[in-house]
């Protein structure tokens, strides 16, 4: 199974100027743990719930600090043709929990949950988040 088979929805996106709290709101309402960050019309990075956790722990004013302060810029990205086991191994080795899948443009951001679905039950069609 390849990553392309696990992408069920287009990525949730935000700009880098919005506040961390606003990004948290968008993740929470979309039921996802990460957003693709767009700058000048291009995919520039991702912000994840771990980044929000770090901002809270560091005592940032999340209502005013913008996403660009805590996003990950130029994250590792994956081709949609990557095998799911290879992607899982990468996630476990690096400690990442989100995989941006890119082919010319950002196709989706897979979570460790999506990858687990691919590993455990490749035949299953599930609305994963």
């Amino acid at each position: 199974m390849r990553l392309r088979d696990l992408i069920s929805t287009p990525p949730e996106l935000c700009g880098s100027h919005i506040s961390i709290a606003q990004a948290a709101k968008e993740m929470a309402s979309a039921g996802v743990g990460s957003l693709g960050v767009i700058e000048e019309g291009r995919f520039a990075g991702i912000i994840t719930e771990r980044d929000v956790l770090e901002a809270v722990a560091a005592g940032f004013d999340v209502e005013s600090e913008p996403v660009r302060c805590c996003m990950t810029r130029n994250p590792d990205v994956f081709s949609p043709d990557t095998d799911v086991h290879q992607a899982a191994t990468f996630l476990l080795e690096t400690g990442y929990r989100h995989l941006p899948v890119v082919e010319d443009e950002l196709l989706g951001i897979l979570s460790i949950r999506d990858v687990l679905v691919g590993v455990i039950d490749p035949g299953r069609v599930i609305d994963v988040q």
Partner: protein, 126 residues
């Protein structure tokens, strides 16, 4: 493989009166995404980074707000005798990412989706 092979260390715990900021700090320090909330000897809840995300989204002040108001109360738990693959399927179905493992009312640990994926990827025969 059963879950008891994955737990047995010390679970990260905090009290219900802990602030969200302190709980976030403890999670980061321990490198985990959830913390068990105990009141005396009893497991009363679990707080995950998803709960912190919700709190942040709602404009809660993490230095003032308390864990007890944002945690999942009386979370589902599982036994150390559960098979890793069964636990993983259950978590995917219910939408959990963290599962407390209990035996005789004692918290042995919390397993995450990442812990289970590790086992399943390392041993494809599972």
């Amino acid at each position: 493989m059963k879950l008891h092979g994955l737990v047995g260390g010390r679970a990260e715990v905090c009290g219900p009166e802990t602030t969200l900021q302190d709980a976030a700090d403890a999670m980061l320090e321990a490198g985990v995404g959830s913390i068990a909330v105990i009141d005396g000897p009893r497991l009363t809840g679990i707080l995950t980074e998803r709960d912190l995300l919700r709190a942040t989204a709602d404009g809660a002040d993490p230095s003032e707000e308390l864990v007890r108001d944002w945690m999942t109360v009386d979370p589902d738990v599982t036994s150390p005798e559960s098979e890793v693959r069964d636990a993983a399927k259950w978590m995917l179905e219910i939408g959990y990412r963290h599962l407390p493992v209990m035996e005789d009312n004692e918290l042995l640990g919390i397993v995450s989706i990442k812990d289970l994926l590790w086992v399943l990827v390392s041993d494809k025969d599972q």
